[in-house]
Amino acid sequence: MQDQPSPREILCAIAAFLRNTVILNSDPHTAFQARVAANAVDLVLRQLELSTTGEAAELMRLQALLGHTGTLAELNTALAEALASGAKGISTPGVSEHLRATTLEKLQVDQPNYSGYRAALERPLKDT
């Protein structure tokens, strides 16, 4: 068993160090980079917590949509090809629900404060 503090606790300490020490003691350019770095640490923390459950759900949806199994990358490529050729489209049952769910799962990690993400959460999918 590994000792503690946990990776999560250490990453939180790094983000706090960047925000409370580095930014306050740096020239404007370095302070900007440090703010970006602190945001990146936060992103990693969110991904550590969320990605496994999200990707399992994405895999299930892709298999249901495409009717076959494969890795996430293979199934995403297959769906991309079907959408590019027009074999599937926005009105194909399940497509818009899947794309919305997958994109929301990414934004929950990437940019949970993004205005487009907030708007999507407030507004359920339109009837298709």
């Binding site: 090809e81 590019a84 404060n113 708007a119």
Partner: protein, 333 residues
Amino acid sequence: MNSASHSEDAVRSALAALAPRLRPAARTISGLMRLSGGATQEIWRFDLDTTEGSQPLIMRRAPGGDRRSEAGVGLNVEAQLIAAARASGVSVPEVLHVLAPEDGLGHGFIMEFVAGETLGGRIVKAASLAGARQTLAYSCGQILARIHSIDPGRFPSLAHQTPADLIEQWHAAYRRGSVRRPVFDLAFHELSASRPPPPVKARLVHGDFRNGNLMIGPEGVRAVLDWELAHIGDPMEDLGWLCVNSWRFGRIEKPVGGFGEYADLYAGYEAAGGAPVNREMATWWEMFGTLRWGVMCAGSLAAFRSVDATVERAMIARRTSETEIDLLRLMAN
């Protein structure tokens, strides 16, 4: 190896020697400061000292003086575009001098320094700019109509890009990446199926007219910046790009740059002589702009893994998903 000045001291003495040719009364320069140095351009600020006082100026030049940028129109054409825009009544900094080989500073130009706010997040929020925000969308429409009235025949080196060319170009850029994104494939398919025909009258397109490239003061737009992506094409491209959600800086409910309404943008455009705006086509260009920015973000992954392994580059790559939710919203409408 290289006739252009690299060090700050060399830039200072070359600018001091140039001073009397910028203004006859000028003796020297002071306060030289490098503002930014990206892969495509260096920006320097300095004061031109004359007997009557000093004038703040900006020098934009190629990195190290003479490395040419792959993308973009080039600094000499950029200087000509700014001069043409000024002659058409667009607020831009006055270009005082285009660098010549004998100046020893490489390729670039010197222009007046315009003070004001360029940070998009402050432009949409600052209390001091509340008055400006009331009229900004209308003003942007007027400015774009003036830019689109410039004779494109004066700029023979600029690329001509029809909607079909642009889709092909950005689709190829997307497919050069290693990741397939079903939302992008769907968006390319939809945009391709509904794309506008080549414009009846191709216009000079600014190419990067958005919140972030506008110098704003309490009275409104002080200067239109960053002309390096100019090309000849469909003028609606500029109106759509200005409305891409990523340039609204959190104010999704204000579709024009996070500060204004579509109707005001279009009214300003038409009042200043722009062609009547087809709303459906304007929306097409907004969606195209969203996809273009998405492909640019996605391309940051390859840049991060090769030439630019910075945290900032990594975080731009992770902004790709924001364009995907915007594309899904636009396609649901």
